[in-house]
Amino acid sequence: MARHTLRRDEPRRRGLGRKLVIGAPYLWLGAFFALPVLIVLKIALSYPELAQPPYGPTLDLAGGWAGFVAFLGELSFDNFAFIASDDLYVAALGSSLRIAASSTLMLLLVGYPIAYAMAKAPDGLRGILVAAVILPFWTSFLIRVYAWIGILRPEGLLNGFLVSIGVIDAPLTILNTEIAVHIGIVYTYLPFMVLPLYATLERMDDTLIEAAQDLGSTPLKAFWTITVPLSWPGIVAGSLLCFIPAVGEFVIPDLLGGSDTLMIGRILWSEFFSNRDWPLASAVAIVMLVVLVVPIVLFREAEARRMEESR
């Protein structure tokens, strides 16, 4: 009898265990993603105040239902209207998207040959090459970006080298320009481009290229008609993995871009810390999030397709 009861309980207990395991990530996402986004959204709908916290209204539960309705009534979209009306924000968002897009293109041009060479390398060498791509992560991101200041500044390593071999007479102004921002993004984001590309290229069957050549296709044409289409999921994944964080990038434009480089991440920072206008800063963050939802959805679809094909 006791054994029977135990047996009957077993599936239910297992069901509870399953729910806990599956529930854990949802709990995590709820606590550290959904809730913060809701808080930011609420602040974006508030107005700034010289108080603690530096915005209003605040919800006072003592007011009951009437108090809650009054609280809702005080929220407004004024910050969003302000962002739309002020050229600065639109321009900053536009230039962020432009810089992120052109950096991503450069990353693709630099990353594809690297990933291709890695995928075609002999078996023993491949692991070492992958490790070499990941190796820079062992040093802090911030320090690596600082290092570029030393390389790019007028009296830095690059200019010193170019002057010494006589390519240029006077140092070039690279630091504090958009060029420096591009260099910084391409350098720091390269592994995010190379690894997804490598993953798709490495899985590709070399006999497909042989078959294409056998059917009369030159190696270059075989590359465009077979290799590129088959690595498309990797191209999309790598590009979005670079593009999405590059739009909101703050450290690289701040350290390498100088005061002329307008990027939405810097605007956000200055609204928050210099102006102490939390509601406006939050509104900027929400706008950025909405703009990035489109590429994020695309990214997820590309990933899903990649999974599908690797079955």
């Binding site: 050549q213 056998d214 059917l215 030159t218």
Partner: protein
């Protein structure tokens, strides 16, 4: 012993109508001249000289690693020979890249382009030639009809079964009307029943199109069924190039006899030759001296040889058979295969010989059972003398 008129004899029950290799005036389509391929540490192909004729269905047969695939890849242009020449229609192929050779290949893995439909796969080679669209479409339709895949034109390769993929791969390789079609283990991925059906379909297609086929396989049955001639390869060298009948009935050495089909090999010594042409061979364990009808004239008395007899050319009986050739032993195993029964018979010295019996009747009088003493017999012209 009955006298046989040898003038009308052919070796093996094979197709007789096509034999350009016996015609001294015929010019080969493909000629390998002393072709050698060395990889960093090993010789994969060792000075192979070989002619293949137009319309021929030629097969390279051998165990894995014997160099047959390398030989074919050199013809396709994926590998360059380390020595020797490959001629196609009299022209040296050295330095001609794979995409400029009038040779197409059907890959073992089929290598269908996964991102293209069946139709696009078949059209791929034609597009590379820059043909007009309607010509391509007509040719693709013709090819899909040939392999009975018209209904699947819009499918992607992963939506097809193994047999269907094999057909698409064949259609794609044939679409450009190559002078030579190379087939790398074309039926290796199919199950047994489908493989047998497809063998005959491939033969029909080859005869219909008249394209020269060169097939690589390790499956001797497949080679025997389909090929006009077979080249048996071992360790990078050609061992024997002959029709399936000759390969089976007149193998040149132990390797060929053993690799192609089942065989019983007994060692012996030549004792002499009778006026009728029969060779006399003393074989330890035999019930008496053996008589073998072998055309080989070069044997000397006292020479050590091996006598090879196929299991189906032997008989098993309770009484000693007529004629001299007999072994006595005990029935060790009986395997009933339906169409055949295999007897494994243990001689008194411990050697085991295999004899097969075609089950031509449903009922058998007094069947031979395990542990019975029996005699194995064979006719003089059922055996082959292997001198090397």
């Amino acid at each position: 012993m009955p006298v046989v008129d040898k003038s009308s004899r052919a070796i093996g029950a094979v197709r007789q109508s096509f034999a350009p290799w016996n015609d001294p005036s015929a010019r080969p389509l493909i000629r390998f001249e002393g072709v050698t391929k060395r990889f960093s540490d090993a010789v994969a192909v060792d000075s192979v000289t070989l002619d293949v004729y137009e319309n021929e269905f030629f097969c390279l047969l051998g165990p894995s690693g014997c160099g047959k695939s390398t030989l074919m890849r050199m013809l396709a242009g994926f590998e360059e020979p380390s020595g020797g020449r490959i001629l196609l229609g009299g022209e040296d192929l050295a330095g001609v890249p794979p995409y400029e050779r009038p040779v197409n290949m059907m890959f073992q893995s089929y290598a269908l382009f996964p991102h293209m439909s069946v139709e696009k796969n078949v059209a791929f080679g034609l597009k590379q030639e820059g043909l007009p669209k309607d010509v391509i479409a007509a040719r693709v339709a013709e090819m899909l009809k040939l392999v009975q895949m018209e209904r699947f034109a819009a499918r992607k390769p992963h939506q097809l079964s193994g047999g269907q993929r094999q057909r698409v791969a064949l259609a794609r390789a044939l679409a450009k009307k190559p002078k030579v079609l190379l087939l790398d283990e074309p039926l290796g991925a199919l199950d047994k029943k489908l493989r047998e059906e497809t063998q005959f379909e491939l033969m029909d297609i080859q005869i219909e199109l008249g394209t020269t086929f060169i097939m690589v396989t390790h499956d001797q049955e497949e080679a025997m069924t389909m090929a006009d001639r077979i080249a048996v390869m071992d360790a990078g060298r050609l061992v024997q190039v002959a029709t399936p009948g000759e390969i089976y009935e007149q193998p040149r050495n132990r390797f060929v006899a053993d690799f192609v089909g089942d065989v019983n090999i007994v060692d012996g010594t030549v004792t002499g030759r009778e006026p009728s042409g029969l060779w006399r061979i003393a074989a330890p364990g035999a019930a008496g001296p053996l008589a073998v009808d072998d055309p080989d004239e070069s044997l000397d008395p006292g020479q050590a040889v091996a006598v090879a007899v196929r299991p189906e050319k032997m008989t098993v009986s309770r009484e000693r058979p007529e004629g001299e050739n007999a072994f006595e032993g005990e029935v060790w195993d009986i395997g009933y295969l339906g169409d055949w029964t295999v007897y494994r018979i243990r001689l008194d010295d411990g050697r085991i010989l295999r004899v097969t019996r075609a089950n031509t009747t449903r009922f058998v009088e007094r069947p031979i059972d395990l542990e019975e003493r029996v005699f194995i017999g064979f006719l003089p012209d059922a055996a082959v003398i292997l001198s090397s």
